[in-house]
């Protein structure tokens, strides 16, 4: 397999080498200017929307968004906490996207990961916190990975559309969670808020040194970096992108499309499953219906804003987390409804998608 990959990558590599440093710098500039420009245009459209639909002053609203999301160390920490699960759920979309798969089931993988982590946590409670946290992470990643791998397998072996199957699997996961926490896994102590038994305070994931932000943020950033390295710097990552470019060509080249699809889907699900583990181990302390909070769906938005690039997921997640963090202040000081942040998110999503067609224009014009 590696020999085939070398054969395919050889012309690409020479092409890369031929391009001058200036050329690649311009490419980078293009990749920076277009999304930033799209976001700025999105904000401008939002300002017009505010002027037409509400009495709020756009500049004051933007000032509030900045203040709530990034204006102080306190706000920045809150934004980072919000971003932590979103980094991981966005990866659940961005990794399969390299193979041309549109997986939108991050919420389901998160829920399964959270449930598995909670069960592992309370079963092993007392076995030493480091070990328990490690085991919880492993359980969460395995459960989430397995969940998205089902979609991958259905796609590869049965031709089932992965978008639909991953979405439907999410509903199954949520139903399983609700059944488990109100039935077989219910803590008898949790009377009016059905939940699994607690994993124990000693096994909770702590804060990062010097910050009021839990370690889940670090997991997210490391996962994004590993994913980027895997996708852009390794043979399997290259194979993924070949499959994404043309499945037939990949098969003809002898790539093990099925195995790679399953492995990529497993990694994607593992990322979202880890987000579920973090939600249980750093925030909730047990699994309950509260872990199904929509992070998986916001992850889809972020992955698309990041154009499925794992490194770009980091700023995209921070941006959306900051906007999300502003919801409260917009309600309290401008009297705007909760849906305001959804309007901003929707507008930015559209301007980013619309800007897709701008890529590559520079080269044709020179």
């Amino acid at each position: 397999m590696s020999q085939d990959s070398v054969l395919i990558s050889a012309p690409v590599a020479t092409e890369n080498a031929e391009r001058g440093a200036a050329e690649s710098a311009l490419n980078w500039l293009e990749r920076l200017i277009i999304p930033v420009g799209a976001i700025l245009i999105g904000f401008a459209i939002f300002a017009v929307f505010l002027l037409i639909v509400t009495d709020a002053k756009p500049l004051a609203v933007f000032e509030s968004i900045y203040r709530a999301g990034f204006g102080s160390w306190f706000s920045v920490q809150k934004t980072l906490i919000r971003a932590a699960p979103l980094l991981l759920t966005a990866l659940c979309v961005a990794i399969p996207a390299q193979l041309g798969l549109i997986i939108i089931g991050a919420e389901g993988a998160l829920v399964m990961g959270g449930l598995a982590a909670a069960v592992t946590g309370f079963q092993l409670n007392g076995a030493g916190p480091m070990f328990v946290i490690f085991a919880m992470a492993l359980a969460g990643m395995s459960a989430g990975g397995f969940w998205i791998a089902i979609s991958g397998a259905l796609k590869h072996y049965r031709g089932v559309n992965e978008t639909i199957s991953s979405l439907l699997l999410t509903y199954i996961a949520i139903a399983l969670l609700n059944h488990a926490v109100s039935g077989p896994l219910r803590d008898p102590e949790s009377l009016n808020k059905p939940a699994t038994p607690p994993i124990g305070d000693i096994n909770m994931l702590g804060n990062l040194p010097g910050m009021n932000v839990h370690a889940g943020l670090l997991f997210g950033i490391i996962a994004c970096m590993i994913a980027a390295f895997m996708i852009y710097r390794t043979v399997p990552g290259f194979a993924m992108r070949v499959i994404g470019g043309n499945v037939r060509a990949a098969q003809l080249a002898g790539l093990a499309v099925g195995q790679i699809t399953l492995a990529a889907c497993f990694c994607a699900g593992a990322a979202a499953g880890l987000a579920g583990m973090v939600e249980v181990a750093a925030v909730q302390g047990s699994a309950s219906a509260a872990i199904n909070a929509g992070y998986g769906y916001t992850g889809i938005l972020i992955a698309f804003i990041a154009r499925q690039n794992p490194i770009a997921v980091i700023p995209a997640a921070l941006l959306l987390a900051g906007i999300g963090a502003a919801s409260g202040l917009l309600q309290r000081s401008h009297g705007l409804p909760d849906a305001t942040v959804l309007v901003i998110q929707g507008i930015i999503f559209l301007t980013i998608l619309a800007s897709e067609t701008l890529y590559g224009r520079r080269r044709t014009s020179t």
Binding site: R82, L191, E279, G328, D338
Partner: protein
Amino acid sequence: MAINRRQMLKTAGVSLALTQMGSIATSAFAAKTVNIGFIYVGPRDDYGYNQAHFEGKQSLDKMDWIKAVDQEKVPETTDVQEAMESMIKLDNVDVLFPTSFGYFDPHILKIAKQYPEKTFLHCGGLYKDGVHPKNVGSYFGYIDEAQYVSGVVAGLMTKSNKLGFVAAKPIPQVLRNINSLTLGAKSVNPAITTQVIFTGDWAMPVKEAEATNSMISQGIDFITMHVDSPKVVVETCERKGVFVGGYHANQAKLAPTKYLTGAEWNWGKVYTDYAKMIQGGSKIPNLVRGGLKEGVVKVSPYGMAVSEAARKAGDAAKGALASGNFVIYKGPIKDNKGKTVIAAGKSYPQTDIWLESMNWLVEGVIGQV
């Protein structure tokens, strides 16, 4: 002036505090503007749980020394921790009312430890003395008393003797409402049955509508509910021409001809009492509970369809409960599997902690936990 205020507070405090295990010192707030923050899990105008709290907040508007801010649709995740901290840091809030049940553990407990000088008052009655931080308080009402009255009215108004109950989850609070409604109805009409359908979650409008429709097609002619927003159920009942009993807030507007009565929260009274305690600098009890007697819950005014006999019986039940002498859970009571759960001669008054772990349905309820 100060003495007058103290006296007034004393009466307010006594009427409010049914169970008092500890208290929160708030002397720092005396005679200055108090900033209060409310947090709701759903929209302010849901005709249900959140609207009931929002209306409670609005009743503070007439007190000019209070500045109240609020935030809606805050999920039970780090979002609510962030909302609380943001209110504390950016709006200088002194007292917080995070109103959703699931906000308490771990979110309020965590933030309350970080801000010991702030007061956190949570709706749900979960405070445990010695376990939870001292600056946390909890309040809740025995709303099943109002459901009992609703049951009395429904029991006399039903023609088919079949009542329906659309419920979110089989948890003790919900089961207690179902049981009290059924016991109320059976007290005036032993032949009635209550069909219960659990939707699985607090806000499932589609499932709630399906449940309502399927009950109506079974011949059920009175439906009530315990879900966050009763709007869909109430509107469906009005359209299909069956009686409906409200919950959380007053939904009479949504069913002008079919609304019989309803079990409502009276948070306006609770919040006003708290505000007065805060202003007077008196101690706030950590645990505040009450029912019809204390004014924490109320019964909606009877709708136009309610007969004279049903009004009389409803008023009698309301009066008995408001006097505090009437006990709903008085043996012998059997569950719907035929097992005696409360033996003859045994009774559990409203404040009895045993009732709070209820996991059975009373005889006459069709459905299972």
